[in-house]
């Protein structure tokens, strides 16, 4: 293959009057501007449309309906429990992954991140095949009198499954970014490992941990497919807001719009609340 004649190591602009160069720069700015306008329009239009079409009156009246209120309460409760479990159970694990190297380290990280790329339908099938009555652990769960399908606990399991990787990934990155001297210095001073984790690593990583928590919570609030397949949909027991929206979609589109607006508001409020907690932590003692 012969290299084209002009592909030499020529620095600067080989054929350009300043005017032409200016024109090119102008085109590039225009392309960047168009790109951001396109992306912004595409990403915000659906949300804007929901609020344009859902009148405030309709929104309030949907809030007054027991189905909406029950779905809202259930969504908040189940997602909060799921996120709390993820944070409590997952943070030490993420710390371990970030601070120790061992055989199969990369594999463990990949396995933890796998649910991120799984479609919710696959998550739902997987949960049924593992924790469902006919699933791998179905017999053991039944023997322990634990029932998950059709139960609120099943919703929590589905939410935790799909949203945990978002938090764990972020937590791992946050702990990995802590400079080693902080940890090693503390250990050299004779501070015990649990204390180093709790009083040094966690406070330093806090902003990033909260960001991960917010992402996981947002994902949990919006979960639909895995919840429907694994836990089912029943008012006040397993019907979260996304399921209630789909229920309304086929019978009462304006109600579905109002409920969607409500979910947008609630999700934004959750993200905002967590962001407000974001304030830089006091330096560790």
């Amino acid at each position: 293959m012969t290299a084209p004649a002009h592909a030499g190591p020529v620095l600067g602009d080989p054929h350009g009057s300043p005017a032409r160069r200016l024109a090119r720069r102008w085109w590039f700015s225009l392309a960047m501007g168009l790109s951001i306008a396109l992306v912004l329009g595409f990403l915000t239009l659906p949300v804007v449309a929901i609020f344009v079409n859902a009148s405030p009156g309709r929104l309030l009246s949907s809030l007054g309906r027991s189905q909406s209120l029950q779905a809202l309460r259930l969504s908040l409760e189940t997602s909060a429990i799921a996120v709390a479990v993820i944070v409590l159970a997952g943070t030490p694990g993420a710390y371990l992954l970030a601070t120790r190297r061992f055989r199969g380290h990369a594999l463990v990280l990949t396995l933890i991140e796998l649910p991120l790329v799984l479609p919710p339908a696959v998550a739902g099938i997987g949960l049924l095949a593992s924790l469902g009555p006919h699933g791998l652990l179905g017999g053991a769960l039944a023997a322990a009198h634990i029932q998950l399908v059709l139960q609120t606990a099943g919703v929590v399991v589905a939410l935790a499954f799909v949203s945990a990787p978002l938090y764990l990934r972020q937590a791992h990155a946050a702990f990995a970014a802590i400079e080693r001297e902080h940890i090693e210095g503390a250990l050299a001073l004779g501070i015990r490992r649990p204390a180093v984790f709790l009083h040094i690593a966690v406070p330093i990583a806090r902003p990033a941990l909260l960001a991960g928590l917010a992402l996981a919570w947002g994902r949990a609030l919006g979960e639909f497919g895995a919840t429907l397949m694994f836990a089912g949909s029943f008012q006040d027991i397993t019907q979260t807001i996304p399921l209630a929206i789909y229920d309304e979609f086929s019978s009462d589109f304006p109600a579905a719009l109002a409920l969607s607006a409500l979910l947008v508001v609630v999700s934004a409020a959750v993200l905002l609340t967590i962001k407000l907690l974001w304030t830089p932590s006091r330096p560790p003692i």
């Binding site: 059709l150 397949m229 089912g232 086929s250 019978s251």
Partner: protein, 250 residues
């Protein structure tokens, strides 16, 4: 280095264009009730006038899509009510009934349940459709025909409201619920994973499927051919093979 890549891109574009040209048959888009999955997939594979693309879901969700501006070529519903409503709004041409079905009580294959009365016991879980999907309203009809005490017991055991019958069958096949009302054809399609318990004739609702050509269809003549094939033609045979009854013969 530049030229081969350009050639590659050009080649891909040509291949795509050729692919588009080669399939000169028009593409017919059919929105159909979830319970029609097997019958319509077979019928679509042998449908000569057009290639077919299906969207299977709860009839109510498909009707809602059409109300929101979706324009498939054909809409086939598990009831006559939804197509009639769309017809009244001028969204579809006059619907026609093309098949009938029966409702059964379905249980997982290994279930000890053999009678409807056993589903009334406390603690037994029952899956049903949402209020707006046809399978949900047919189940309501069955339950409403029971004596009030039995009706209350059954209603108290409903623990899951699925958006379409596929969801109910899936929950039954996985043993996630103890019983559910589904169409007789759904049980046949599971090849033994789910067992049917016949309902007393007095409880059996009238289950008629209606189909309509959607107004604004890009291929109205092929859409019409698809509908008439369902009434008397290869579609009729595929429906029968899947266990559907002729219209008005439930």
């Amino acid at each position: 280095m530049k030229r081969p890549r350009t050639l590659l891109v050009a080649g891909v574009v040509c291949a795509l264009a050729l692919g588009a040209c080669a399939s000169s048959k028009p593409q017919l888009r059919v929105s159909a009730a979830a319970s029609l999955h097997q019958a319509f997939t077979r019928y679509g594979a042998s449908f000569a006038p057009a290639s077919t693309r299906f969207s299977f879901a709860g009839s109510d969700a498909l009707a809602a899509q059409i109300e929101q501006g979706a324009r498939p070529d054909v809409f086939a519903s598990a009831d006559a009510k939804l197509p009639a409503q769309l017809f009244a709004k001028g969204l579809v041409r006059r619907p026609v009934e093309f098949a009938a079905n029966r409702l059964v009580l379905a249980v997982p294959s290994g279930s000890p349940i053999t009678r409807l009365a056993q589903v009334e016991r406390p603690g037994v879980t029952l899956a049903a459709g949402t209020a707006s999907v046809p399978i949900g309203s047919y189940s309501e009809t069955v339950i409403s025909r029971l004596p009030v005490a039995q009706r209350r017991l059954l209603q108290a055991n409903i623990r899951d409201r699925e958006p379409d019958v596929t969801g109910i069958v899936g929950k039954l096949a996985e043993g996630a619920v103890d019983a559910g009302f589904v169409y007789a054809t759904d049980v046949l399609a599971t090849h033994g994973a789910v067992r049917a318990i016949e309902l007393p004739a007095a409880l059996q609702p009238r289950v008629g499927y209606a189909v309509a050509v959607v107004r604004g269809s890009a291929h109205p003549s092929q859409a019409l051919a698809f509908v008439s094939g369902l009434l008397r033609g290869p579609g009729r045979a595929d429906l029968t093979a899947s266990g559907f009854l002729p219209p008005g013969r439930e």
